[in-house]
Structure formats: structure tokens, C-alpha cells
């Protein structure tokens, strides 16, 4: 394999005892598109960070253009021609295209005269190379998302990149935009640029990739020629493991319908029209790929982006939801995805965080009753097993799993009828994950209806009594507990079979 521009051999990397990568080998030839696939948490991001020099591997060796690299750091990776492009282009929105490109190309010299003509010409040349028809004088904020991505590709090409890593470049693109991007990739392949391509959209992967490497739980399942596989093979290799054993059991008995959603839509957040029901005692998993509209739907139901059409019924009564406050008053609570940002107030104590949403209930007169508040917090600290120095501890000082429990405790204190959980175990370690799973089940057993959004397929299948699958803002499939298989859910999420929304 002497023609490899990039060659990773037996890379291992662990973080605080968690093995993120175990003896993973990966190589990339010039002019090749090598797809890297795997579930969330399979180790894709870690591998990319090793390639770009952000993480140094514990073991294994890295060769670039056939030469062994001892200590790869981000600066060196850049000099060796390795560049990464992420979902969100990292451009300066208020500068022009040519300025953005020039910033990467020109050596920094604060008082040097700028040759605007030269800048523009260089930018135009690079843009032509990626086949983009973009005015170098246009401002980045005026460009569409794929145009911005093309600008970013042009920029990294200008620095002489030979290895381009693309992490979910098409997640936020429309089909037409995707083909424009693919066209650019094909052109650059001719020039001998190698691509590491990460995407959850399998049809796209098959269209572009020459080879595919599948990661699972930090190990490489294997590298395959794209032509030798079909989608179901690939899905089996990505998921392939026994799932349900470690999850709490199914719902004992489902009660009456607690939440009914009829044709609810919100144009602004890309949820056209959704209808479903949640029953008391039931955990319903909401599956789908990143960008399928799951979080958007939850935000509509909780009134963050209020619905502009349809009806929402809680316990059979229609409720009007215009803000999170009205949603909470109607008995719908939402545990947001990014808990550090939205779920809790990091700078406030655990005590305050727990009682924040229910001030009207515990302090009917507006005065804070410290004893009542302390009792309430202590009760939840005990009930949920929150590990903390005391109820006065700042929420920001807790570990991820415990922060999540505090966020959960806040809504439990509000005693909701419907609980919407968005990625409740993201970034939480295994032990805490189990506890949170058990907790969710016990809440459902108490009569709440739970809607759980999760990208973790085993979790969705293991926890849910019913699974709804979303794609492109619409519900595209429903699975009962018995009939849910990871292949089936994944296929529905990926849109295999091709039916459009």
C-alpha cells in the first residue's frame, strides 16, 4: 500500500479508562473517497481527531505519504495537507469570500499592503477548481449552506490539502445541493485529493464511496469495497449486537391517552404536519437521524417554537401552547438535548435549579420557604441518587450524569403528565445511563406518558414500548416493541426503499 496518502495502523486511544478506539487501521489512497460509517459513539469522531492531530493515539502509527509521523499535532497535520470540513462551515460571515480564502492563504503580517486584485484572482481560481460559480466579492452571510461549504473546500485546497475529511457535510442540505457538492467531490478526486467521508445517509455513501470502513464500539469491523456490499449488509455490520438485555422491562399496562397530537405543524422550524398519541404508562421512542426533525418537533410541542397549525390535547382537553410556560402549565415538560446550555442554570445551586420551574406551586405567595425548598431538593437528591456535595452545590460542579438527574428532578417536581426527553443519556457514563433508564421506566409506571428522543439505537429499542421514526420532519414509521429490530428502524430512518416525505 505505497500509494496511500494516509495510513493509520492499529490505532488505540482511551479516555479515562473508556476505550474509544481499539487497534483501528484505516488507509486512504490519492483520488479515493473512503467512507467511514458507524453508529453515534462508535469512534468516528475520535478517529478523525486522531487524523487531524487533535488527539494523539495511545498506540499505533500514523503514516502520511508513506512517511511515519511521530507526533502529529494540528499544525503539523495542516502542513501535511490534512484538512477537515464540518457540518457547520467555519467561515467569517461578515467578510467576503475572497477575504475568507485569503485569510487561510496569506501569511499574517499586520501592516502589509493588501493586494485586492491578487486576492480576488486567487479566490476565483480556487473556486473554479471546485466547480463553484460564486462571486469572490460576495459576503459569506449571503451564501447558501452548500455554497459556504464549497468556499470552505476552496479555502482548504488553497492551503494545498491532499486529504479532506468531511464530517456529515450533507446533513443540512437539500437533494439538489447534495448533488452539487458531490459533483465538486468528483472533480477533486480527478486531481488526486483523497476524501474521508462520513455520512449517515447510506444511498449517498454508495453513490460516492470507493471503499467503506465500518466502526463499531471503537473497533473496526472491516474495510469493504463499496461495490461488494448492499445497504442491509452495511446496516447489519454497523449495528450487529444483542441489544435488549440490560434495559428495564416493558410497560406493565398502558392507560388512557394522555397526549394527542393532531396535524401539528410549525413551518418555521420545518415540521410540516405530525399526528400521534401517547398513552399513560408508555415510553415511546422517537428515532431518526440527526436533522430528521425530532428535536424540532419536541420544541414545537413544548412551545419554544409554538405550533402554527393543528391541535394538541392533554388528557382529552385541547390546550393552547404559545410558550414553554404555557406548555408546562398544560402538563407537558421537556428535558432539552443540550442540558449544559438549556436544561439547568449552571451558575445556580442544585436547590434553586430543582425548584425553579415550580415556584408557583411550592411558594404560592412568592416568598421562598427555605425549609420546604430544602426538603424538596433533598427528597430528589435521595430519590434519584444524585451525587453531590450537598444541595447548595452549584449545578455546574456536578458530573454530566448528575446534572442530567438535576434537570430531570426539576420536571419531576412539577409532576407533568407528559415528559419529553431529548437525548437523556447523551454524554452520560454507562452506570448513570442505567440509572436514568430505570428512572424513566418508573416515571412511566407512575402514569406519565414519556416521549424519548434518542440517537442511540440500542437505547431506543431497549427502552421503548413503541418506536416512531422520523425523517424529513415527518413520521415515517411506527414499530411495536416486539417488531422493532435495529435493521428495521435504521432502514426507516435512512429512507431505504426510497419513499419520500
Amino acid at each position: 500500500m505505497n500509494d496511500s496518502v494516509l495510513d493509520l495502523r492499529s490505532i488505540s486511544k482511551s479516555f479515562q479508562g473508556v476505550q474509544a478506539l481499539r487497534e483501528v487501521s484505516f488507509d486512504l489512497k490519492a483520488g479515493e473517497v473512503h467512507a467511514l460509517l458507524g453508529e453515534n459513539g462508535a469512534g468516528k469522531s475520535t478517529l478523525i481527531k486522531v487524523i487531524t492531530g487533535a488527539h494523539s493515539p495511545d498506540e499505533g502509527e500514523i503514516r502520511v505519504n508513506g512517511h511515519k509521523v511521530e507526533r502529529l499535532d494540528p499544525g503539523m497535520a495542516r502542513r501535511l495537507g490534512i484538512a477537515a470540513i464540518y457540518q457547520q462551515p467555519a467561515l467569517f460571515a461578515d467578510l467576503s469570500v475572497s477575504e475568507n480564502i485569503a485569510l487561510a492563504l496569506e501569511a499574517p503580517a499586520p501592516f502589509r499592503r493588501i493586494r485586492w486584485g491578487g486576492r480576488r484572482a486567487a479566490a476565483a481560481r480556487l473556486l473554479r477548481r471546485v466547480g463553484a460559480r460564486i462571486d469572490p466579492d460576495a459576503f459569506v452571510c449571503e451564501l447558501s449552506m452548500p455554497e459556504q461549504q464549497l468556499v470552505e473546500i476552496a479555502r482548504v485546497l488553497g492551503t494545498g490539502a491532499r486529504v479532506l475529511i468531511m464530517d456529515e457535510p450533507t446533513a443540512s442540505l437539500t437533494p439538489g445541493e447534495v448533488s452539487a457538492l458531490q459533483e465538486a467531490i468528483r472533480v477533486l478526486k480527478q486531481d488526486g485529493v483523497g476524501f474521508v467521508y462520513i455520512s449517515h445517509r447510506l444511498p449517498e455513501v454508495f453513490e460516492l464511496a470507493d471503499r467503506i470502513t465500518v466502526l463499531r464500539d471503537g473497533t473496526s469491523v472491516g474495510t469493504f469495497h463499496a461495490a461488494s456490499l448492499d445497504e442491509s449488509d452495511l446496516i447489519r455490520r454497523m449495528v450487529g449486537r444483542d441489544l435488549s438485555a440490560e434495559y428495564p422491562g416493558a410497560c406493565k399496562h398502558t392507560g388512557p391517552v394522555r397526549l394527542e397530537v393532531r396535524d401539528v405543524g410549525c413551518v418555521a422550524s420545518g415540521v410540516p404536519k405530525v399526528s400521534f398519541q401517547l398513552r399513560s404508562g408508555e415510553i415511546v421512542g422517537l428515532s431518526g437521524l440527526v436533522g430528521a426533525g425530532r428535536t424540532e418537533l419536541a420544541r414545537v410541542l413544548f412551545g419554544i417554537t409554538p405550533p402554527d397549525s393543528g391541535q394538541i390535547l392533554v388528557d382529552g382537553n385541547e390546550v393552547r401552547i404559545v410558550s414553554p410556560r404555557s406548555a408546562a402549565a398544560a402538563g407537558i415538560c421537556y428535558l432539552p438535548e443540550d442540558r449544559r446550555r438549556h436544561g439547568i442554570v449552571l451558575e445556580m445551586s442544585l436547590l434553586v435549579n430543582i425548584s425553579l420551574a415550580i415556584h408557583d406551586k411550592v411558594f404560592p405567595r412568592g416568598w421562598i420557604l427555605e425549609d420546604a425548598e430544602r426538603r424538596l431538593a433533598s427528597r430528589f437528591v435521595g430519590e434519584l441518587g444524585i451525587k453531590c456535595a450537598g444541595v447548595e452545590a452549584l449545578a455546574g460542579s456536578l458530573s454530566g450524569g448528575n446534572q442530567q438527574k438535576v434537570a430531570l428532578a426539576r420536571w419531576l417536581a412539577a409532576d407533568p403528565k407528559v415528559l419529553i426527553l431529548d437525548e437523556p443519556t447523551q454524554g452520560v457514563d454507562v452506570g448513570a445511563k442505567r440509572e436514568i433508564h430505570r428512572l424513566i421506566r418508573s416515571l412511566a409506571d407512575r402514569g406519565m406518558a414519556v416521549l424519548m428522543i434518542s440517537s442511540d439505537l440500542p437505547e431506543v429499542i431497549g427502552m421503548s414500548d413503541r418506536i416512531l421514526v422520523m425523517r424529513g420532519g415527518c413520521l415515517m414509521g411506527e414499530f411495536a416493541r416486539e417488531e422493532a429490530t435495529s435493521d428495521g428502524v435504521m432502514s426507516a430512518a435512512l429512507g431505504k426503499g426510497g419513499e419520500a416525505c
Partner: protein, 299 residues
């Protein structure tokens, strides 16, 4: 002690009386800063309120009427800020910069710099003796301070201010209405500024329409020295009290130590810098720029 005269009761009483209006105004500004906003228009609000109560006193308004009038006028001016900041969503620094100029200029256009004179006997010191009047002013200041301590520490409303200042979005998701909280805070600050104007005006026999220039800076400085984080969500009212006292003592302190008085501003500036560097006397956790920067990146 270097200057025993400084601690004579009469001097302290005068100092306290002169400081009480600043304290009351600083309380309002503190609430606003806790909500991650700023108000630099309170100096102009203060002047406008002062003129209003002067004119009302000429017409024979009693003390309680004057207080109600001043707090009402201040509240309305605060509401203008509140609507523009919370309702329309404009940056508070710009909004209050605009209202600061607007109030001040309309006052100049209206009064043409003319003092409000010929105030009735009953106006100065609420018609009481100087000593009683001074005590009244100080007591009012202390009562406002006490109320603020109660509000910030023991009411849900105070809690909401801290929550909104720490993270408006997280607060909104917890069912709090940040717009409403922000609006109320601007209105309350305006009303407190009106009250401060009364406490200040009764010290004199006439009303200077140029009064209150720089009051906003005194109030903000006191809040910052007292440990209120300009990034919102952190700080204590008692810290601000300490800040007000500390800054107020600089001027008289210099006089009694027979040092040149022009050093007052410089020393106050130094205190502010020191306070910001150690992130306040009021016991806030130190938060360095780098930390804030990292937090921003994470978001």
C-alpha cells in the same frame, strides 16, 4: 486616627444623607445588571423626576404625593426602556444611551436650564428640622436596601432575576418569562430612581435641572465594586451597599486628610479596577476572561 473630625456624628449624618439617593439608584441599577442588562439613562431620569417634583411642590404637593409622583414618572421612563429592550429586543446599552440623551435634551429644551425656585417651606427636609430630615432620608435609603435584600434573596421574583441573568434561554425553558422579568426590572429601577430624586431634592431649597449628571456611572460603579457581575446573574445587594459606602467615602476622606480633592475620581477609578480585577468584594467566584471565552466556545 488620621482625621478624627471625619467620624463626628454630624459629618457622618451629612455623608449618609448625601449617599442615600445614590444607594437607592444603585439598587435599581443592580437589579438591571443582575438581569444581564444595563441602564445608563437613570441620571437623566433622575433630573426629570427632580424637576417634576419641584414643580409639584410649588403647586403645594405634600411629601407622599411627591414620592408617588416621582416614582410614577420614573416608572414610566423605565417602562419606555423596558418595552424597547424586552419587547422589541434592542440592546439595552443603545436604548438607554438614546433615552439618556432624549430625557436630558427635552428637559433642557423645556426648562432652558432654569432652576425651580421659590419652593414652599414645607419642601426642604419634608418641612421638618434638618436633623429629622436627614434621618428620614437615611431611613428611607436603609428601608429600600432592606426590601432589596428580601426581594433578591427570599422571593421568587428575585430568583427569576438571577436565573434570567445567568441564562435567559435556560430560564425560559424552565417556564420563566424573561421578557416580563426584564421589563419589570426596568420599571422598578425607574421608580427607584424617582424615589432617589425625592431623597436628593429635599436636601436643597431649589431644584437644579442639571442634577443627576453622572449618577448612572456612580450607580454602576457601586454595583461593580460591590461584586455584581456585569455578565449578569451574580452579585449581592449587600455587596453593592458596601460599594456605595466605599466610593462615597473617598471624597470626604480626602478633604479630612487634607489631600487634594481632585484625586477623588482617580482613586474611585482605581477602586473600580481593583474590584473588577478581584471580581468584586461581594464574594462572587472569580471568573476570568479566559473562562468566559471557553464557555462561549462551548456554546
Amino acid at each position: 486616627m488620621a482625621a478624627p473630625d471625619f467620624f463626628k456624628p454630624r459629618q457622618l449624618l451629612a455623608l449618609g444623607t448625601a449617599t442615600a439617593p445614590v444607594l437607592v439608584a444603585a439598587m435599581g441599577v443592580t437589579m438591571i445588571i443582575l438581569c444581564r442588562q444595563i441602564d445608563i439613562s437613570i441620571g437623566s431620569q433622575f433630573a426629570l423626576c427632580s424637576v417634576f417634583i419641584g414643580l409639584a411642590a410649588q403647586k403645594g404637593g405634600g411629601p407622599l404625593e411627591l414620592v408617588a409622583l416621582a416614582m410614577g414618572v420614573g416608572g414610566v421612563m423605565g417602562a419606555v426602556n423596558g418595552v424597547l429592550v424586552a419587547g422589541v429586543g434592542l440592546p439595552s446599552i443603545v436604548v438607554t444611551l438614546a433615552t439618556m440623551a432624549t430625557w436630558r435634551e427635552s428637559l433642557r429644551w423645556w426648562r432652558e436650564g432654569e432652576f425651580v425656585r421659590n419652593l414652599p417651606e414645607t419642601f426642604q427636609w419634608f418641612g421638618a428640622s434638618q436633623m429629622t430630615g436627614q434621618w428620614l432620608v437615611i431611613t428611607a435609603g436603609i428601608m429600600v436596601l432592606g426590601c432589596m435584600v428580601m426581594i433578591t434573596q427570599f422571593t421568587a421574583g428575585g430568583r427569576f432575576m438571577y436565573a434570567v441573568g445567568s441564562d435567559p434561554e435556560a430560564a425560559r425553558l424552565a417556564g420563566i418569562r424573561p421578557m416580563w422579568v426584564t421589563f419589570s426590572v426596568f420599571v422598578s429601577a425607574g421608580a427607584l430612581t424617582g424615589l432617589a430624586a425625592v431623597l436628593n431634592a429635599v436636601r436643597f431649597t431649589d431644584v437644579d435641572p442639571k442634577t443627576g449628571t453622572g449618577l448612572e456611572m456612580q450607580a454602576i460603579a457601586a454595583a461593580v465594586v460591590g461584586g455584581v457581575s456585569v455578565a449578569g446573574g451574580r452579585g449581592r445587594v449587600l455587596g453593592v451597599f458596601a460599594g456605595v459606602l466605599l466610593l462615597a467615602c473617598v471624597g470626604p476622606g480626602l478633604v479630612f486628610l487634607n489631600l487634594p480633592a481632585q484625586w477623588e475620581r482617580a482613586i474611585q477609578g482605581g477602586i473600580i479596577l481593583l474590584a473588577v480585577a478581584s471580581d468584586g468584594l461581594g464574594g462572587g467566584r472569580p471568573r476570568r476572561l479566559r473562562e468566559q471565552h471557553e464557555e462561549k466556545k462551548r456554546r
